[in-house]
């Protein structure tokens, strides 16, 4: 039996490694997902067999099977029903589930009352605290992305967070030195409640724009909690799976921070770069409005068109219209490229998923870095539902909150048309200087209306 378990765990671990590896290459990603999933099913089944084989059917086993079946059905339904724009929230929610599981695991372990060594107690509590914080933090991140929760940034939150952090060291310390007149279970419950509060306070001050980074970080934390529990149980597959995710998650978090030119500490501190007060916001920006007809004419005469999509496009569900517009332009021998900012959408790569859903071909998607120096080759750049990622203030105004963030140099193309519903500011809350440029015109309209208008005009032209 032991041999069966060990071999199965080994196979499962290999499937995780290869799965993650394949998931990071475009042509094999699909297989990677299936492979890792299969490995997971194997690990779970073998664990079930090894734990319950030879015993009579117990209530414990029945409850496990019941929970697994309902969990699978609910998970499948949730993932089938989700809108692609709501994907980041869902990932965050699923991550919360893993964190919650890690927390409950710690509580049960404490209730079992196995008198472990102080080293294993530390492992138990670390896993519990990280799991609980990841759970409540992910729920807050979910609520923020779903627009149900606003940012809160007060000194109070900062101080309480610090006190909580200290208490995570002090309370276990007191218990281990027998200075705390409380039982193992009580201490564990206190720690998990404090960690839940900490998770909430951790995410509350962080700006909505930084949520992708936070989700990635929390995801990584759940992995670490899993690995810690794995050491406790001496279980190789938990350690391997957990730490792969922990390590990969941290790397991914840093990659995302780099893409936004934000330091991880600034993100966690809920800070924006610069003083937050833009020096240039007094000067009135003169805007030039344009119409659908005018824009359509421009497009009809253009040789090369760039589309800069943003989250607004996805919210308006206009990806499909976007790909229709592309098709019409291509019939007229106009070259169309999509230029994707690394953090377009609500998660890195989110925009790619959204456009893929609308059957936009992979070759048409250009990463920002690859085309930024050639922006002057585009006759018309259409910015749809994006704002901060084309704001030249990021390059010019040292006091701007977004200063230093890499941007798409849309202003270098011959003409820019920004499709926008109104003069509202972008996610970062900054005035967009691009609108004042001579070659920039604004088309005030809903993305869907504007795009279908353009398509109709172009059909006639």
């Amino acid at each position: 039996m032991i041999a069966l378990v060990n071999i199965s765990y080994l196979i499962a671990m290999l499937s995780f490694i290869l799965g993650l590896k394949f998931l990071s290459s475009p042509s094999k990603a699909k297989h990677g997902n299936i492979l890792a999933g299969t490995g997971m099913v194997l690990a779970v089944i073998v664990t079930l067999i090894s734990q319950f084989f030879g015993f009579s059917v117990s209530i414990n086993l029945l409850l496990i099977l019941l929970a697994i079946v309902t969990g699978t059905i609910v998970g499948k339904r949730m993932s089938d029903r989700v809108e692609m724009t709501a994907m980041p929230q869902l990932v965050s929610l699923f991550n919360a589930m893993g964190g919650g599981c890690a927390m409950l695991l710690g509580i049960m372990e404490a209730r079992l009352g196995t008198p472990p060594s102080s080293a294993s107690l530390i492992l138990l509590w670390s896993g519990l605290i990280i799991g609980a914080a990841s759970f409540s933090g992910s729920v807050i991140a979910y609520r923020k992305l779903a627009g149900k929760q606003k940012d809160k940034r007060t000194r109070m939150i900062m101080y309480v967070s610090r006190i909580l952090l200290v208490s995570f060291l002090v309370i276990p310390g007191l218990y281990l030195t027998n200075l705390l007149p409380l039982g193992l279970v009580s201490v564990t419950l206190i720690l998990s409640s404090l960690a839940l509060v900490y998770g909430i306070l951790f995410v509350l001050p962080i700006g909505g724009a930084d949520m992708p980074v936070v989700i990635s970080l929390l995801n990584s934390l759940t992995g670490i909690a899993t690995a810690l529990a794995g050491i406790l149980y001496n279980n190789t597959i938990m350690i391997a799976g957990g730490i792969f995710v922990g390590a990969a998650g941290i790397l991914l978090t840093l990659l995302m921070c780099n893409a936004m030119n934000r330091s991880i500490f600034a993100v966690i501190g809920g800070k924006f770069n610069g003083s937050g007060v833009s020096s240039g916001d007094e000067e009135e920006i003169e805007i030039k409005a344009t119409s659908i007809g005018e824009t359509a004419t421009k497009l009809a005469f253009a040789q090369k068109v760039a589309i800069v999509p943003g989250y607004g496009l996805a919210v308006a569900q206009a990806q499909h219209l976007c790909s229709q517009l592309q098709a019409i332009l291509e019939e007229k021998d106009t070259e169309v490229h999509y230029i994707i900012h690394p953090v377009a959408g609500r998660m890195p790569g989110h925009m790619n998923v959204l456009l893929a859903e609308a059957d936009v071909h992979y070759d048409k998607l250009k990463e920002m870095d690859l085309v930024n120096d050639e922006m002057n080759e585009y006759d018309v750049t259409i910015v749809i539902g994006a704002n901060d990622v084309v704001n030249p203030a990021a390059e010019q105004d040292e006091n701007s909150p977004i200063y230093g963030m890499p941007i798409i140099k849309a202003y270098n193309s011959r003409e820019v048309v920004v499709i926008k519903r109104g003069m509202s500011k972008g996610y970062a809350g900054v005035e967009n200087r691009l609108f004042g440029y001579d070659n920039c015109q604004l088309l005030f309209s809903d993305a869907k209306v504007a795009l279908s208008g353009l398509i109709n005009e172009l059909k006639v032209l």
Partner: protein
């Protein structure tokens, strides 16, 4: 502490190697796959379910409180795994469709 280190030496070596491996295998991921990768990794961290099953086996069938907590934890772990893999599959299938064209 030292005792723990001695007893679990292999485990600690394993942990360290896995950390580097975890970083190494995804180092070259293109931005286009960040979201599916995060989602897939998230599903893998659901392997905590294995721990939940192990501990469920140890629980006294009379201890209803622990049984309830355990059942919830198995449910949450499964949800993390199943939801994670299904949703990643859905994202990736969109990349797949257009390739056939």
């Amino acid at each position: 502490m030292l005792e723990f280190f001695n007893e679990n030496q292999e485990m600690i070596y394993f942990l360290i190697l896995c950390t580097f491996l975890g970083i190494e295998i995804i180092a070259n991921v293109p931005a286009i796959l960040h979201t599916p990768l995060m989602s897939g990794a998230n599903a893998i961290s659901g392997v905590i379910l294995v721990g939940a099953i192990i501990i469920m086996q140890k629980i006294d069938p009379q201890d209803y409180v622990s049984l309830t907590i355990g059942t919830i934890s198995v449910f949450l772990g499964t949800l993390n795994i199943a939801g994670g893999f299904f949703v990643t599959g859905r994202m990736l299938s969109m990349f797949g469709n257009k390739k056939k064209k």
